[in-house]
Symmetry: C2
Subunit: 114 residues, 2 copies
DNA sequence: ATTACTGTACTATCCAAATAGTACAGCGCG
DNA sequence: CGCGCTGTACTATTTGGATAGTACAGTAAT
């Protein structure tokens, strides 16, 4: 699975969102160990520093935690995961309607376009 | 009307999209004169250079043209405007579905969330 | 103990975006 | 003419993201 990173937005943010999605969609399960920073960096073809920045952010959000010398793991707090899943979905939907409205397209038409 | 620019993406790109929307939504009509670069820059609270970069891009796209010492005007080519309108809407809808799919949300649920 | 892996913490460098400031050419109007 | 507006074209500087490279501490397996 390719990472499809574009240059219009900070790469580390795109990575954060990508891994967020992988967690809320269940691709990574609560308690799962993530690949190491270095592994992920190779996979995504970015600098390890960039990947670590993304991981630090995921930690701040509360989706992962790290064991200093052992690795990084998905939180076991399923409520937290579900909360973020709902929040992401809501924000994405609102953003979609906002853009469409800006183009002069109402909700009905926005739904029809899907 | 505020410009709502965020710092997560290049400002000039956000401006381009904003003015694109204003044109395809009919807020600016074909042949309308745009405010000057300097005026727009003040309005959006950005540097004139940034605004000019955005305007140059709009010109490249074919939505506006400039009269060197007179001002900048919306194209009178309504077909071009409509073409871009359809293209923007399509791209936005696809992007929405892509994000939702990444979160593990299918089309039906994505529609329901609107 | 050695080896290999983990996260983490630095410094240095590069590049694009954004800013600040200045300047010039042409049009229109009083 | 002179004034003010227009787009346009520069230079210089700053800032944040990304890169490259190195280093250290702690765990686990051999």
């Amino acid at each position: 699975m390719s990472w499809n990173l574009d240059s219009d937005r900070p790469i580390f943010l795109q990575i954060v969102e990508r891994i967020e999605s992988d967690i809320v969609s269940g691709k990574y399960l609560p308690g799962d160990k993530l690949p190491s920073v270095r592994e992920l960096a190779v996979e995504a073809a970015v600098n390890p520093n960039t990947m670590q920045k993304a991981c630090t952010e995921l930690e701040r959000i509360g989706l992962v935690y790290s064991q200093r010398t052992n690795g990084r793991f998905v939180t076991e707090d399923k409520k937290q995961i579900d909360r973020i899943r709902k929040e992401m979905a809501k924000r994405t939907a609102q953003e979609y309607l906002r853009k469409m409205k800006e183009m002069g397209i109402d909700r009905d038409e926005a739904m029809r376009l899907l």
